[in-house]
Symmetry: C2
Subunit: 192 residues, 2 copies
């Protein structure tokens, strides 16, 4: 998506050959007008898919997922990273490893909100190793839900998450795929 | 707000005289159409206030805040609950105690995204003791930003958070204030 690639070039900061900061518009301060354009792109790309639920994971995917859910006219569910005293009853859970936070944690979705009737579009802001997305796919499978696709704002194409999910047959629709970054020049190359 | 009160009566579950579950539409599965109506209510209530930023805290306030930000045409910033390797530079931070999670944690906002020019509408899904909101107010004060108001979806009026912030002069606009709940009958009484 040209608009997102241009925004990343304008406002993204290459911190190292591995780390791209987009916190001024994507995942700390958030430009909801941009998210609306992204949501419309996914709405166009998934036209005809019987999506009736959006699934994301706390925290930085939630705002994008909310706008996407409104664009599709369906509810959104976010997987929680820790057991809350208010989350009781049957849950689906899986353990994932975070690249950003360098730790493992359990993520949980209440069984009330995901089931065999659900056709799910999974949404997140970033994909690197894809562990979070693998976790959400596992939760969908445990619930008997159908994964219609995975929409990612920024995929790091030089890390294996996206291509690994594609190889497994999942439809991964990343709006910008960073192929390489140069922390000395600040240059960012996107996959065609 | 009648629409929200009716939804709480229809779909909220009184788990105890203290705990109200609204996870089917507000803070686990989320009804973005409802959030849009709530955002329009705040837009109406704060008409004329020079709001140029929405501030919330991860995780369950983010979706509501995103819709509110779009309604006001301003960016949204969410305070993060743990230091990420991607969050560097100067930050404003404060320590808060969670009623729901029964633990203390630090919340952080990058100094790049909050400053003396900002007129902030703070948004969250729930307020009980108000610790999270007190924390966000402290962060705004540390940044020299002006708090134009605090918009809460559901306030527990029998807990001190909302009235304590009002007594300090903050404009707290809660769309539904639960005055009392009866876990045996499931009855919920709202403040007029």
């Amino acid at each position: 998506m040209k608009l997102l690639e241009e925004r990343i070039k304008a406002d993204g900061v290459v911190k190292s050959d591995q780390v791209l900061k987009v916190d001024s518009f994507l995942n700390h301060q958030m430009d909801i007008g941009l998210f609306r354009q992204m949501a419309r792109q996914w709405r166009h790309d998934f036209d005809g898919a019987p999506i009736n639920k959006v699934l994301t994971i706390e925290a930085s995917g939630i705002a994008i997922a909310a706008i996407v859910a409104e664009e599709f006219g369906v509810p959104v569910v976010f997987a929680k990273k820790s057991q809350s005293v208010n989350l009781d009853g049957t849950v689906y859970s899986t353990r994932i490893t975070s690249f950003t936070h360098k730790r493992e944690y359990d993520v949980i979705v209440s069984a009330k909100f995901l089931g065999p009737d659900d056709h799910v579009l999974i949404i997140d802001d970033f994909m690197a190793n894809g562990c979070a997305m693998e976790g959400l796919v596992q939760i969908c499978e445990a619930a008997g839900a159908t994964v219609e696709g995975i929409g990612i704002a920024v995929e790091k194409g030089f890390q294996p998450g996206g291509d690994s999910l594609r190889a497994k047959g999942y439809r991964v629709d990343s709006l910008a795929i960073v192929e390489s970054m140069d922390s000395e020049t600040g240059e960012i190359a996107f996959r065609e």
